[in-house]
């Protein structure tokens, strides 16, 4: 099965990570799942093998341990064809306003770690002359809002990093995809009030990621409605915007 392409999913235990892994496995890719606890990912790897008759492996990866990144990439048996980062931490905005440690964790989990690891893979891919990088960012990064600007600002930084990386890497045969899912029904959003028509299930995001990789899309709003919603939100003049509570 050496002819199969491989995808490495960073954040493989998240609902979107699992959905993306299934979408790629169904399309015939071999899958690597990476997360803080590789053993905890084994049931998902077994699920992929049983369903799609592909090879699936698990890897320990901690997005906050940036010192380990070089070793992590060097320790992979082969450079994957595609790397997808689903990693993110919503955190609790009110806590982040006064608890600097919490705010730092949100910023590092959503911006620093994902950017550094994808940047590192991009260097390897550029050296090889091909590969696809997928970063799952957020519509929350399109404009900082009162209710989640710590998370949103980190996602904004991540989106900007991906945008610049895409411009640079495209000249070297490496494609970079930015995914902005909008509301997704997942563990992360459980208990939150989500707006039904703007909310999708994780498998929809998984399919959208696969689709973007195969079609070489640059920026994906999983639901087209979000592109419009964020266009409006981005266009609101600041005097109006700052009065909004959302």
């Amino acid at each position: 099965m050496t002819s199969r392409k491989t995808v490495l999913v960073l954040g493989g235990s998240s609902d979107i990570g699992r959905a993306a892994a299934r979408a790629f496995a169904k399309a015939g890719y071999n899958i690597g799942l990476a997360g803080r606890d590789a053993a905890a990912l084994e049931p998902d790897a077994a699920d992929l093998r049983a369903r799609y008759n592909i090879e699936a492996s698990t890897w320990t990866f901690d997005v906050l341990d940036t010192a380990s990144f070089d070793g992590f990439v060097a320790g992979l048996p082969a450079l994957p064809d595609v790397v997808v980062s689903i990693i993110g931490l919503l955190g609790v905005q009110p806590n982040a306003e006064s608890d600097l440690a919490h705010a730092t964790t949100i910023m590092r989990s959503n911006y620093e770690g994902p950017s550094l690891i994808l940047g590192l893979f991009a260097e390897k891919f550029l050296g090889r002359g091909n590969g696809t990088i997928v970063g799952v960012s957020s519509v929350a990064g399109d404009r900082g809002r009162a209710s989640n600007y710590v998370y949103g600002s980190a996602k904004a930084g991540f989106s900007a990093f991906l945008s610049g990386l895409r411009a640079r890497a495209s000249r070297g045969g490496v494609h970079v995809v930015t995914v902005k899912p909008g509301f997704v029904r997942t563990k992360m959003t459980e208990g939150m009030k989500l707006i039904g028509p703007l909310t999708v299930d994780a498998p929809v995001v998984g399919d959208a990621i696969l689709n973007a990789v195969e079609k070489k899309t640059d920026v994906v709003y999983v639901s087209g409605k979000w592109r419009l919603v964020m266009l409006i939100i981005k266009t609101l003049p600041e005097p109006v915007f700052k009065k909004l509570k959302f």
Binding site: D44, A46, D47, A50, E190
Partner: protein, 443 residues
């Protein structure tokens, strides 16, 4: 607390809904309160999958543990949906042996209701293809139950409506198939006798079911379209057809609760007339259809339960033992036609023996009818229940939201045996649903 209902959206009741992500969390959720039950994809119509106090949502447990393509044996978590199994393993040449009228049910729910399909008369129900079940009991044990090991618990869990414990995992067998297509034959039957004869003649078919026009009266009473089906081989497919058809996600959706008068005497009669005539024109020769419309005609419309309006609807599904079934069915259909508000989802089919202690099927004819919740419908259904009980029949718990204790106890003579097994697994009755409070538990 959250307001929860089944697929029929009646009754709507309070229960705390949890969605644990590990079996440890399931165990903790069950241990913490008295009165939990598991819920799969919420397709039981009434109050079966609503916990007395706490409802344990299981759809997060959607992993396949292992699959052996040599035998079709699969081990999976209880929250895997049949739609997922069909989409994933169909293209590899395997389908569930038994599928109910919707594919959007979980494996755990299908075991708990011991669901039947169009092949029950010959091949039995869902539980027949389940080899073993991993169960978290109400007294806090995690046990594997099978025909060989803890067999009482196994047969009480198949069809036990989730009351023996939380179904965590199961091992079952899938059916090897050459294609995802069904060779279908439609037979039109001008009245009830013809319909029953056609179903009897269809005993040798793998799949058989009748759509029955419950608006037809008099001479036309019981007129039906009978759908027989066999798995199609590769050489029966049209040139260029894929071996396995693509199952589209529901395209149409019912976006809002329609006004409850949308389905009225006139619209139902008109729909049924048209449906019967179109079906009758197709009657005769065989044709090959995708498994999706054959098995799941309503799955193509998302949220179809909303056409009955905000107050919801009731599905009444009874089974009448074979001897004397004809007259009882005629009596029921006549009363239903007089009312005129039963809708197009009327199904008649033959069943064989059930496998579980409380499994619904018994050899005879099952009739399923939908009614909007309004007017004196509850009294009317009580009258129908008296006919069912008098004929030695019973009602399907997975569809039930309103039968009386007396009806239930008369229909399920094995209830005392079930209660004894349940007690041995859960003496404190930690596992309790709204349905068990209504029909099983001491008041």
């Amino acid at each position: 607390m959250t307001l929860v209902s089944g697929w029929g959206r009646f009754p709507v009741v309070d229960s705390e809904v949890l969605r644990p992500r590990s079996f440890e969390a399931v165990a903790a959720a069950v241990a913490a309160v008295t009165g939990s039950v598991a819920r799969g994809n919420g397709r039981a119509y009434g109050d079966a999958a609503i916990g007395a106090v706490r409802t344990i949502g299981m759809t997060g447990f959607d992993r396949v543990r292992s699959f052996d393509p040599a035998t079709g044996r699969i081990r999976l978590e209880a929250g895997v949906l049949l739609s997922d199994l069909i989409d994933t393993f169909g293209p590899r040449g395997f389908l569930p042996f038994v599928v109910p009228g919707t594919r959007f049910v979980s494996v755990g729910g299908a075991i708990a209701a011991d669901v039947h399909g169009k092949n029950h008369h010959g091949e039995g129900g869902f539980g027949r293809y389940v080899d073993s079940i991993l169960l978290r009991t109400g007294q806090g044990e995690t046990i594997e139950v099978s025909r060989e090991q803890n067999s009482d618990a196994f047969f009480a869990t198949v069809g036990g409506m989730g009351l023996t414990g939380i179904i965590l995992e199961a091992t079952m067998r899938l059916r090897p198939v050459e294609t995802g297509w069904i060779r279908e034959r439609v037979i039109s039957a001008s009245d009830l006798d013809a319909a029953m004869r056609a179903l009897d003649a269809g005993d040798s078919a793998t799949y058989s079911v009748a759509w029955i026009d419950c608006a037809a009266r008099g001479r036309d009473l019981g007129r039906s379209l009978i759908y027989l089906g066999e798995h199609a081989c590769v050489d029966e497919l049209a040139e260029g057809a894929d071996r396995f058809p693509v199952g589209k996600n529901p395209g149409l959706a019912v976006p809002i609760d329609l006004p409850s008068m949308t389905l009225n005497r006139v619209s139902i009669r008109a729909f049924n007339e048209l449906y019967y005539r179109m079906g009758a024109r197709r009657a005769g020769g065989d044709h090959v259809v995708s498994l999706y419309p054959y098995f799941f005609p309503l799955d193509s419309i998302a949220d179809w339960n909303r056409i009955y309006g905000r107050r919801g609807f009731l599905q009444h599904q009874c089974v009448i033992p074979e001897a004397g079934a004809r007259d009882v069915l005629a009596d029921i259909l006549d009363r239903v036609a007089k009312r005129g508000d039963a809708s197009f989802l009327a199904v008649l089919k033959k069943l064989g023996h059930g496998d579980g202690v409380l499994s619904f099927p018994l050899p005879g004819y099952t009739l399923a009818l939908d009614f909007p919740v309004k007017g004196d419908i509850l009294n009317f259904l009580d009258e129908i229940d008296r006919l069912v009980v008098a004929a030695g029949g019973r009602l399907y718990l997975a569809k039930d939201a309103r039968q009386s204790r007396a009806t239930f106890e008369a229909g399920y003579p094995a209830l005392s045996r079930f209660n004894a097994i349940r007690k041995s697994l859960d003496p404190a009755k930690n596992i309790r649903s709204k349905l068990s409070q209504r029909l099983f538990d001491e008041v």
